[in-house]
């Protein structure tokens, strides 16, 4: 008998029923909710007089709009304040657990799920947010949905889904010194393109993936959506189990032992087939810097900005010309010549404790360049607390970085943290779309280590030989 993939096993165990054409009613174990994509879903419940089926299977937190400055002050933007207040009212009315803005457990929704032990292997997890793919790092099937589907899950604990195809992305070998999960995923997106994973669920395999910490795997899976795949996943192993054990919402005692036995079976059989396979060698992955307005427009820091005149494909050529114009870059200029104005270390991609430890290790004893404004935004209140206990905040402050409260912040600039038109930012976030960090702002996606080095030097440098 043909074997099955990790994805197949999770999918099969969540089928409630299937239509003749294969359309499946899929059971959803967990839902995460934030303030931006949920108000209309709760409004739908109220209008139809419906109640959540399992309110305890949902966890809510405000993250997109929250200020990262002094939280004892009122939110300056009344519309942002209203959206956060609406989430609080909805959670109260429908009996949903909420970590409010002043709760130490508040943070970016994709940081707090794993941190609390809400995210577990073998589960289906959704959120009205495309970066829900992050949770796949635990061997869960986790994907972003729209607001109508948020409402659907609240009422029925199910979603109507078409079975995606499977793609294996295998990365074997050892990463160059100071390269990280962020460089792996940017290199993957550079290779497959931003639509390369459309219609697929990705499973990341290979020795370079196994070697990653849970934080690194979250960074990797987080950006699966930037390659077009709604979900990315890594099979659980001892690191996964060690990370989960003892977390507040994780199973305890005998239940935990039972769960671990089940989780140990969650892997792709050796005779299973994927619908597509892509391979990379870790040794070939240089520190990555995006140069354009789509995450696939990315290259190694030791390369030059591409030249559209050399491109034969009309579509690529035109998109490149447009991107270079928006980004204010010239063809063939070395990436290391790009001067920056701002640095943002944060987001659901790179704001966990390990990211901050690594960034601090490079910032220690250095000074942010006079021409650069740099900020660090921890992924959650608990990450911030831990970082402060380790003295990382002092390292950052002494180097000239601002040390902020937890939230999505300048990843999408819904709060007050915004790029001005024409400003250029080295960012550890996940999207470099036009205007993403502020209308007219220019974003370069990099790893935390590369962001620190850029902050200090005022331009991109190759972290492999920076000292």
């Amino acid at each position: 008998m043909a074997g099955t993939t990790l994805f197949d096993k999770i999918w099969e165990s969540h089928v409630v029923r299937a239509e003749p054409d294969g359309t499946t009613l899929l059971y959803i174990d967990r839902q995460l909710v934030h303030e931006v994509t949920s108000p209309q879903a709760f409004e739908g419940l109220k209008i139809a007089g419906r109640r959540p089926r399992r309110p305890a299977a949902t966890l809510a937190v405000p993250d997109h709009n929250v200020p990262t400055t002094d939280r004892t002050l009122a939110i300056a933007d009344p519309i942002s304040a209203k959206q956060i207040q609406t989430l609080e009212e909805n959670c109260r009315d429908f009996g949903i657990t909420l970590f409010s803005m002043n709760d130490i457990r508040q943070g970016v929704v994709h940081v707090i799920g794993p941190e609390q032990g809400f995210t577990l292997p073998g589960t289906t997890i959704v959120c009205g947010d495309s970066h829900t793919s992050t949770h796949g790092a635990f061997g869960a099937l986790a994907f972003g949905i729209g607001t109508s589907e948020v409402e659907h899950v609240l009422v029925t604990q199910c979603l109507v889904q078409n079975r995606p195809k499977t793609m294996e992305i295998r990365v074997d070998g050892t990463l160059p010194d100071r390269c990280s999960a962020k460089d792996i995923i940017l290199a993957i997106i550079g290779k497959i393109g931003t639509a390369g994973g459309t219609g697929y669920v990705i499973e990341f395999t290979g020795s370079a993936i196994r070697a990653l910490s849970m934080e690194g795997r979250m960074t990797l899976c987080n950006m699966s959506i930037e390659g077009g795949a709604r979900a990315g996943m890594v099979a659980p192993d001892d690191k996964t189990i060690a990370y989960i054990q003892g977390r507040p919402l994780a199973p305890k005692g005998d239940l935990f032992e039972d769960a671990v036995r089940a989780w140990q079976q969650l892997k792709t059989d050796s005779n299973a087939r994927y619908d597509a396979t892509v391979t990379l060698r870790a040794e070939d992955i240089a520190p990555q810097v995006s140069w354009g307005t789509s995450p696939g427009m990315v290259t190694g820091v030791d390369q030059n900005v591409p030249d559209p005149r050399t491109m034969s494909d009309e579509k690529t050529k035109h998109a490149t010309e447009r991107a270079l114009e928006y980004m204010g870059l010239s063809p063939n200029m070395p990436i290391t010549d790009i001067q920056i104005d701002k640095v943002f270390i944060g987001s659901c991609t790179n704001a966990r404790i390990e990211d901050l430890r690594l960034a601090a290790s490079f910032a220690k004893g250095k000074k942010v360049a006079k021409t650069v404004h740099a900020m660090v935004v921890p992924g959650s209140g608990l990450v911030k607390q831990q970082a402060e206990a380790e003295g990382l905040d002092r390292v950052f402050r002494e180097a000239g970085f601002e040390w902020r409260e937890a939230g999505c912040s300048m990843c999408l600039a819904m709060n007050a943290d915004v790029l001005q038109p024409g400003e250029r930012c080295a960012s550890t976030s996940n999207r470099n779309f036009e205007g993403r960090q502020g209308a007219g702002g220019r974003t370069h996606l990099v790893s935390p280590a590369m962001a620190v080095a850029a902050a200090v030097e005022g331009h991109f440098v190759d972290i492999r030989n920076w000292n």
Binding site: Y27, I79, Q83, L120, G128, T156, G199, S294, M414, R431
Partner: protein, 207 residues
């Protein structure tokens, strides 16, 4: 949800690839707690020039496309953020159908939740129609969901694929939640079985 059967309407061209949902509707319009009134935010940054004045080159500012109901665009439309504000804004502008060579998954799903039909045609078919749209004012297409066809004014007919279940729901304008609730006994049976298979998934989650 409004049903979609056939639509004959004016076509607006957006000749760009990888149009992400941040462009379809930028972040400042996501602070709303309503689904309606998002027309102003549609392609907000692309409607303006750098100095803030309207960009007359952009299709939405041209009188000839004001009453368009069909948007014709290029590969990977709707990539990026899951924001359903993107289809809400398109709907608010009057679009009921988007035609492209490919769509991002989440956006594609979100369209069906809002009575918008996303149609996938081949790249060369889209390019050919794009040329015709740009060349002729008042250009209309007829989109027939029942027969899964798009017909040009010249009589050329293109076929498109769509999952039968989705097609049926959109064609009849069915309430997706109401439909799932008809299977409540199956959901309960699943939960009962699952509680013995994986009891840790049903442990009390209240912190």
């Amino acid at each position: 949800m409004q049903a979609f059967t056939t639509l004959t309407g004016l076509v607006a061209p957006l000749d760009r690839v990888n149009v992400d949902t941040d462009q379809i509707i930028p972040k400042q319009f996501l602070k709303t707690i309503k689904r309606t009134g998002l027309r102003e935010g549609l392609f907000f940054d692309w409607k303006k020039k750098k100095d803030g004045s309207p960009d007359q080159e952009f299709f939405l500012n041209q009188p000839r496309y004001q009453s368009a109901t069909i948007l014709l665009t290029r590969d990977n439309f709707g990539c990026g953020s899951s924001r359903e504000h993107a289809p809400w804004a398109l709907l608010d502008q009057g679009f009921r159908c988007v035609i492209a060579p490919s769509f991002a998954d989440i956006f594609y799903n979100n369209c069906f939740q809002n009575g918008i039909l996303p149609v996938v045609l081949k790249s060369d078919e889209v390019l050919s129609v794009m040329k015709e749209v740009l060349g002729k004012e008042g250009y209309q297409l007829t989109v027939d969901l029942g027969n899964q066809t798009v017909t040009t004014p010249g009589g050329t007919t293109y076929r498109f694929d769509i999952d039968p279940f989705r097609k049926d729901c959109l064609y009849r304008g069915l309430d997706s939640i109401g439909l799932t609730l008809q299977h409540e006994p199956a959901i309960t049976a699943y939960e009962t079985r699952r509680k013995t298979e994986a009891p840790w998934l049903f442990a009390d989650l209240r912190p």
